[in-house]
């Protein structure tokens, strides 16, 4: 675990927000929100195979009756 700094007012706002019990602490809440944000920013563009590989795969898929 490591520490980060938050404005006092934001910290208090989160403390109020988590009173419903869904999050055990402000840290839990901040981790949740940051992970939610990061996953959308870490999306990588599609390129998991070369054109040549793709053609070979299509041939197999045709042979198996998928295409």
């Amino acid at each position: 675990m490591t520490s980060i700094e938050l404005p006092e007012s934001l910290y208090k706002r989160i403390e109020t927000r988590i009173k419903d019990g869904k999050f055990a602490s402000v840290s839990d809440y901040v981790s949740f929100v940051l992970r939610e944000k990061l996953v959308t920013e870490e999306e990588t563009p599609e390129s998991h195979f070369t054109k040549e590989e793709e053609e070979k795969i299509k041939d197999r898929l045709k042979a198996l009756g998928y295409l």
């Binding site: 992970r35 939610e36 996953v39 998991h48």
Partner: protein
């Protein structure tokens, strides 16, 4: 297309041109014999179905998965993929060595670069993964039968093992190409270990209504006594698809791995694997991957709240049943009729009818599927 878990589809296959050399090398290496199910998981790692894993978990990652349901990299991961080995098998082997993984016929099919060996703390493992230490739970029983030492490290797959269902086996790269060719941008994954009844069909088609394609992905591998045999499940599904599904909207392919019966944790694991196959959505029903009464009916749905960064959208379904008054499959959210009008899709009831040679009721199962089931003399996994 959706990103694989961790952003990159893992490829741990020995390139074709280096295969001969690898086989030659493997013959001279110390060997570790692995079970058929573990061998399939080596294949799953190599082909990227378990991305971002590149091998069997080392201790730091295992501890992290058990305690936080995440790898040390912070990526969500809930089911430990570990390799156990006996002290005899590990004699003279140390971290830094490469060993050959061999199947039960002693055929080397993969290499393992050992990073570390460490003790398996079984009680802690089962408590975290299965939520119980009761040895009546199949996952707990299996863990208690494991060796005392785990081996962590990256694998390299030399060759795939023989698979009687090879025709229905697609890798994540292949499904991604397939989905792209079909022009699907949103795909819902459906996990199953059972024969299809009308309730499953209702869920699958309801989910498909909102996306471009349906990926039915039965788990083929070790199951518990009384479950339907793999060949029966596939025969039944093929028949259902041929008669009741649009061909250009549905793909059936298998996932070769064992059922862990880890309920909520396994639901997350199943969704990660389907994300790697290119699914954007994943169906989670009542008691997903459950067994007995070890998990609350909707625990496998509630656990998704913990993971805002999973990267795949779960579609939750409540219990469904046939209603005599509605004359269709419905669920508790849409049917106003009394419980007395409802017929449950009970697997036990279906199995009971089939064991006695009875025809399954048409309210529960398509007649063509019922016909397929009747043709199998021994449709269930024996003990």
């Amino acid at each position: 297309m959706i990103s694989p878990h961790g952003g990159k589809l893992v490829d741990r296959k020995v390139p074709f041109e280096k295969k001969e050399e690898a086989i030659h090398e493997a013959a001279k290496m110390p060997q570790i014999v692995v079970s058929p199910d573990l061998a399939r998981d080596v294949e799953n790692i190599a082909f990227g179905a378990f991305s971002p894993l590149e091998g069997f978990l080392c201790q730091g990652d295992l501890d992290s998965v058990l305690q936080t349901k995440r790898l040390r990299s912070d990526l969500v991961w809930t089911i430990p993929i570990v390799l156990d080995a006996s002290s005899t098998a590990l004699k003279g082997i140390k971290a830094g060595d490469t060993v050959a993984l061999v199947d039960t016929t002693r055929l080397p099919f993969a290499l393992l670069e050992i990073e570390e060996t460490y003790p398996l703390i079984k009680k802690e493992f089962v408590k975290q993964v299965y939520g119980t230490t009761d040895s009546a739970h199949p996952g707990v029983a299996k863990t208690f039968r494991m060796e005392e030492t785990l081996v962590g490290g990256k694998i390299r797959l030399i060759d795939m093992l023989f698979d009687e269902f090879q025709r229905l086996r697609l890798s994540p790269v292949e499904t991604r190409v397939l989905f792209k060719e079909k022009g699907w941008r949103t795909i819902v994954g459906f996990q199953t270990r059972n024969i299809p009844h009308l309730g499953h069909e209702y869920v699958q088609k309801t989910a498909l209504t909102f996306v471009d394609g349906l990926f039915i992905n039965p788990v083929i591998g070790k199951k518990k006594q009384g479950d339907f045999k793999d060949e029966v499940i596939l025969d039944a599904y093929q028949t259902l698809l041929d008669n009741y599904y649009l061909k250009d909207k549905t793909v059936l392919a298998i996932l070769r791995t064992e059922m862990r019966y880890a309920g909520p944790r396994e639901a997350i694991f199943h969704s990660i694997v389907r994300k790697n196959f290119g699914c954007t959505h994943f169906v989670v029903g009542r008691d997903h991957a459950g067994v007995g009464k070890y998990y609350a009916p909707y625990a496998a749905q509630e656990i998704f709240d913990e993971f805002p960064d999973l990267g795949i959208v779960p579609l939750f379904f409540r219990s469904f049943f046939y209603c005599n008054k509605c004359q269709s499959v419905v669920n508790e959210k849409i049917c106003p009729h009394d419980q007395a009008d409802h017929i449950d899709f009970s697997g036990t009831k279906l199995r009971g009818a089939l064991s006695k040679g009875d025809v399954a009721p048409k309210e529960l199962i398509r007649p063509e599927v019922a016909e397929v089931l009747q043709k199998w003399k021994e449709p269930f996994v024996e003990g």
